[in-house]
């Protein structure tokens, strides 16, 4: 695998800069992480994106100090992070199921990290009270300080967990699927809010998720993991424009796939032919395109022949199930640009306006 560190050369030993090199970790015979390296700049918001079992949570727990890697190095602010025990790393962590202290009030939960400090570093109790009040207002939970976690909704618990992690003025903020247990609307609201909190707190943040939309919406850069390996790292735009392989393409959003052949600078899919990009692999390829990056053409014009199997209107969008080359693809078209009078059984033609080619059967 080529190093994804190419654009990380300028990330140095800044106070909040994180460098991860060659991290490997196995649980028994099960390898959870294999030679993972990347770097994050001070104040950067990095998402670790991958399916379950990809090692993203293990990597987060390594950063928190809750797991010890078998090999590799983590440097934070120029320090050897792995040599520092978890309790002294000041890495604020928000757990997937929040892990709030169930027998403590919201206030006591948030104050915990300040109250357990050794005497000389512990703020006075009036100061702790003031900080807790500030954090409650930051997470918009004023007035709920005396409640217990069991008396809060999922979204409220999530915000208490974040306030508790921020209370220790973390140098590094770690979030493990923080929205995993919430419903869609709450997730979207909290997402925007979390980004605001991050920008205000100015803390380097690593965020684990399996939801590609969440990762692309929130993060400055996204690291895609699969089977314990880092597959690609880049800004959401870079990833969307140039997914490194079919797995990344597939994982980043709804994808349509057709078999094609590249020969002498031309791409041929069934009876349709177009110019192949200069960097295209030659021979048999898998053609990937997004369902909304297609253009319908007249039935007697150029394009891929397809048969309509069903159609569904979603607001301004028309979703057409088409049978192409023996596969059923769901294509999206703006209602205005869709072929007139779409009906089941009708023949249409379409052409992908943007596509990516990967050698056949590769991943």
């Amino acid at each position: 695998m080529s190093s994804p560190l190419a654009d990380d050369a300028d990330i140095t030993d800044d106070a909040g800069a994180l460098q991860i090199r060659g991290i490997s970790k196995s649980f028994g015979r099960y390898p959870a992480l294999h030679d993972v390296s990347f770097a994050a700049a001070e104040r950067e918001f990095i998402a670790l994106l991958g399916p379950s079992g990809s090692g993203k949570t293990t990597l987060l727990r390594v950063l928190a100090g809750l797991e010890t890697p078998d090999a590799g190095e983590v440097r934070f602010g120029g320090e050897d992070f792995l040599a520092i025990p978890a309790r002294r790393r000041r890495a604020g962590m928000v757990f997937q199921h929040y892990a709030l202290f169930r027998h403590m009030t919201v206030e006591a939960n948030i104050a915990f990290g300040l109250k357990v400090r050794p005497g000389k570093d512990r703020p006075a109790s009036a100061e702790i009270k003031r900080r807790v009040a500030d954090l409650l207002s930051l997470v918009q939970l004023e007035g709920l300080g005396k409640r217990y976690p069991a008396q809060l909704s999922g979204g409220q618990r999530q915000r208490v967990a974040l306030a508790r992690a921020l209370a220790i003025e973390p140098r590094l903020l770690l979030l493990d699927e923080p929205f995993g247990a919430l419903d869609a609307q709450v997730r979207r609201d909290l997402r925007r809010w979390l980004r605001e909190v991050h920008d205000r707190a100015g803390v380097t943040t690593v965020f684990v998720t399996h939801d590609q939309e969440e990762a692309l919406d929130l993060a400055d850069r996204v690291a895609i993991l699969k089977d314990g390996e880092l597959i690609q790292l880049g800004t959401p735009q870079q990833l969307y424009d140039d997914p490194k392989n079919a797995f990344v393409y597939d994982f980043l959003g709804p994808a349509c796939q057709l078999p094609g052949v590249v020969d002498a600078g031309r791409l041929r899919i069934a009876d349709w032919e177009t110019a192949a990009p200069a960097d295209a692999p030659s021979g048999e390829v898998d053609v990937y395109f997004r369902p909304d990056e297609v253009e319908f053409t007249p039935a007697d014009g150029a394009g891929l022949a397809a048969q309509v199997r069903g159609a569904l209107t979603r607001g301004a969008e028309l979703r057409i199930d088409c049978l192409v080359e023996g596969r059923t693809l769901e294509l999206h078209a703006r209602a205005a640009s869709a072929p007139a009078g779409v009906a089941v059984g009708m023949g249409v033609r379409f052409a992908p306006t943007r596509f990516k080619l990967y050698p056949r059967g590769s991943e």
Binding site: A64, G65, L66, A86, R87, R88, R89, R90, A91, G92, M93, F95, H97, A99, L100, F101, R102, H103, F112, G113, V116, R117, R164, A165, A167, I168
Partner: protein, 277 residues
């Protein structure tokens, strides 16, 4: 569960259950108190003020006050390590803790006699150094601890397993040291289950007969606990004395039951995880 219509034979089943509880539990319990007070309150008080009875009560309290705290500490340590960590032999350990539940208490007493009795493995060594374990308070304490070993651990393990170790991990990332995590997170999360386990352990420790009877010299006023004292009086046909002492143990049982019920009702969610579902 919602209201389920009882089938036709339910009243019959219920009658059998209520009858059995009445005949086997409530009636004998009533008899204990009836016989204890059969010669009036003064005789009852006198039976309990008897020096041998006083000695038996004192010994029972002493044994419980040593074995119950030790068991609480053991139970906490065992539950904590079994529930929060993975290590080789964990399942074996879990099974062995239950052994005193499945083994006759007499055997639990007998093993100590085999080890420390005059003819036991360490008997000559102990005799040479003038250490007395069997037929002594320390033997009774050992036997009691063996028999009551699983009580606290068994209450805590399912609850701790259910709670997982995320809260402890969170406390560590927030800067807490190992002991602080235990004192401020682990212990408060299991305090009611711990109290519940201690209560059951105490009732059993005070009432244990089989194991204690093997290791005790059964010298009245010296090495008789309450259950042994009751047996001795009964064998001497002193029914008022026997049942007066028995009423103390029965009363302890009733008090334990009341506190246990209150705990279950008030803190059911914080007791055993299995009981909640």
């Amino acid at each position: 569960m919602g209201a389920v219509r009882l089938p036709g034979f339910a009243p019959l089943m219920l009658a059998v259950v209520v009858g059995a509880i009445g005949v086997l539990i409530v009636a004998p319990l009533a008899v204990v108190f009836i016989v204890a007070f059969s010669k009036g309150v003064p005789a009852y008080v006198a039976a309990l003020k008897d020096p041998d009875a006083q000695a038996a009560i004192g010994l029972t309290l002493l044994v419980a006050s040593i074995s119950v705290p030790l068991n609480a500490v053991f139970g906490l340590a065992a539950a904590w390590s079994i529930a929060k960590f993975e290590f080789p032999g964990r399942r074996v350990l879990l099974a062995i803790i239950d052994l005193p539940f499945s083994m006759s208490p007499v055997v639990s007493g007998l093993v100590w006699v085999l080890l420390f009795g005059a003819q036991g493995w360490f008997g000559p060594f102990l005799a040479d150094h003038d250490i007395k374990i069997i037929f002594d308070t320390s033997g009774i304490v050992l036997a009691t601890i063996t028999v009551t070993l699983p009580f606290v651990a068994r209450e805590l393990i399912p609850l701790m397993q259910d709670q997982g170790s995320d809260e402890e991990a969170a406390a560590v990332t927030l800067g807490a040291g190992g002991f602080t995590v235990f004192r401020k997170v682990t212990l408060p999360n299991v305090k009611w289950a711990l109290l519940y386990g201690v209560l059951l352990c105490n009732a059993r420790a005070m009432g244990e007969f089989g194991a204690v009877s093997v290791v005790s010299g059964k010298v009245s006023g010296l090495s008789n606990t309450l259950p042994l004292h009751i047996e001795a009086l009964y064998n001497d046909f002193d029914f008022v004395g026997a049942f007066s002492a028995a009423s103390l143990l029965a009363g302890l049982g009733l008090v334990t039951l009341v506190i246990k019920t209150v705990l279950e009702w008030r803190y059911s969610g914080e007791l055993s995880a299995g009981r909640r579902r």
